[in-house]
Subunit: 334 residues, 2 copies
DNA sequence: GTGAAAGCGCTAACAA
DNA sequence: TTGTTAGCGCTTTCAC
């Protein structure tokens, strides 16, 4: 059996109450007693039983990081950077529990006893039921990456629409008029946002988005490849393709290469996200940098604050800026 | 306050013990009573308090997934596939806690009260201290991805050495004699294993590995790029480069392209891992497929079994096979 | 500055 | 088949 505060109490000749207080740095305890108790605890190799602590303090020391899904539509880079951002912020104060929302059939195992707070990395409106559940159960949470439209929740996200706008405007400025899109997973908010930015930019400059140049993707490499192949089936090819993320851009470039065409001389390609990879494919990808790690970090900090203060902060929507990254995958059309 | 079994008991007119038993499907309870209690519980929206359960049952329902590090040397794809593999296996029976071993200064917050079991995705011998700690504390665990040499621990890993052997042998069979290596992070077991396989193959066919053609990398894209640039500084270039993972291979290809050379016509490139990406870079990467998701899955299953049976299974080392994946990045030297 | 006692929500030995 | 009681390890009143 493990060492408990009672064991320490016995050895120190005090009550277990005193031990508890000493170990928690209560100001009530005589500094010397405190010191002595701590030493004994150390030497007995004491570690607190978190289940007991949790029970009485009503805190689990667990933080959840929930993605819409862990299977399809979450790119490895995105996943990695998010976990890293959050993890670096919470350090070892809390346990970080990583989950896909779609892992659950019912949410009732997700309780405020089990999670002190939850970070929702949300990619789809389908998460709204989950978020509503958290709200209902009064589980502190922040929603990253997607605007919920619910005034009660704290949102932190990047201005994808603005990013897409600038990206497409850049394409147009280079002289492109025949622009194709390989869009993200259907129903994902990011897909809609990027499309809207794209449309705004196109509209402003009087360029039309032809229906036959729109392809649906699902944010993974394969889907970019497949979509580009369809695009290449057009009798008149696009001069530039806006892929809604970098992974799909890589797939698209592959399809173009297979066809014997070159990027950017024959077709320009742009992506979105700015993966760790994107500067290293050939040609290096022109894209929009999304501050994923920063969002996660900020999200974690905010959640921590909510938990400590035991109240919902003024729920607001925080936008972090995207950034146009010009590299080599865009040329002027011929 | 949340609903407890006592509330249910009151409403049902039974003792809380009966409620507990009913909810846990004890065979002792009258089926009708059981049914009735369950209904009441449902309707009162009862959810068990896991802290209390944990305290008395001495189980935390937490599973740890520990990487050597979450920062450097863990590639996003690798990370993603591992988490996914484990997560899909444990479903929502347990909470999955993801951590970097190097997040901890001291291990004493890692207790058997807090973790029912731990999966160590180990990449470096530096993890041995951690593994020893788990052994000492009798926390059930499996070690993936690396052979510990400790007879007491369950190992599941891929035969990297054999994979590297076949890969390099293939290179030699294509006629390559001037082969360079961009090696993995120093001290990582995977690095050593792949090097050994490489050396074995080379030795068998009487090919020498020139010191000036060996470069150290650290498993990320940038390091592959930097290493390749150094390699390109040689007056006599290698005809083929073995990059110890696919990420570095991508970086290397970039450096080669920048130099105005072509893969595989001028220099052949091979990687290791078989990322989701690897089939989609141009040229598609010849590499060795490592069954990461399978390893994680198997690891999780094994750990679960250990936990349920409450005993260490016969500790053994399980090797899962790697597979040579021939694509387009290798040509015969000119 | 310290201790006695109660209680967090649950399970389990023992009794009935 | 059900209930009584104790206890898991901890924190927190309340009293001294």
């Amino acid at each position: 059996m493990n060492v408990t505060i009672k064991d320490i109490a016995k050895k120190a000749g005090v009550s277990h109450t005193t031990v508890s207080r000493a170990l928690n740095d209560s100001p009530l305890i005589n500094p010397e007693t405190k010191e002595r108790i701590k030493e004994i605890a150390d030497q007995m190799n004491y570690t607190p039983n978190f289940s007991a602590k949790s029970l009485v303090l009503d805190r689990s020391y667990n933080l959840g990081l929930f993605f819409s899904t862990l299977d399809k539509g979450t790119s490895p880079n995105f996943f990695y950077e998010t976990v890293r951002g959050v993890n670096n912020t919470i350090k070892d104060k809390y346990n970080l529990i990583v989950r896909g929302i779609d892992d659950y059939e019912r949410y009732d195992r997700i309780t405020n006893k089990r999670f002190d707070g939850i970070i929702v990395m949300s990619q789809s409106e389908r998460d709204d039921a989950f978020i509503a559940y958290l709200l209902d159960k009064r589980i502190p949470h922040v929603v990253l990456n997607r605007h919920t439209g619910n005034a009660a929740v704290m949102n932190i996200l990047s201005d994808d629409q603005q990013g897409a706008y600038r990206l497409v405007e850049y394409l147009v400025a280079q002289g492109h008029k025949r622009i194709a899109t390989i869009e993200g997973r259907e129903g994902f908010k990011s897909t809609q946002q990027r499309m809207e930015g794209c449309l705004r930019a196109l509209g402003k400059h009087g360029v039309e988005l032809l229906p036959q140049l729109r392809e649906q993707g699902s944010y993974d490499v394969e889907s970019g490849y497949a979509a580009m192949r369809k695009l290449l089936g057009n009798r008149e090819l696009p001069t530039a393709v806006f892929c809604f993320n970098d992974d799909m851009a890589v797939g698209a470039m592959k399809a173009i290469a297979e066809r014997g065409l070159r990027v950017p001389q024959d077709i320009s390609i742009v992506g979105f996200d700015d993966n760790m990879f994107s500067g290293f494919v050939s040609p290096a990808l022109t894209t929009v940098k999304r501050p994923i790690e920063q969002i996660s970090r900020k999200g974690a900090e905010t959640l921590l604050e909510m938990i400590e203060k035991k109240e919902t902060l003024n729920p607001e929507t925080i936008y972090l800026h995207t950034e146009l990254v010009l590299r080599e995958s865009v040329d002027r059309p011929r």
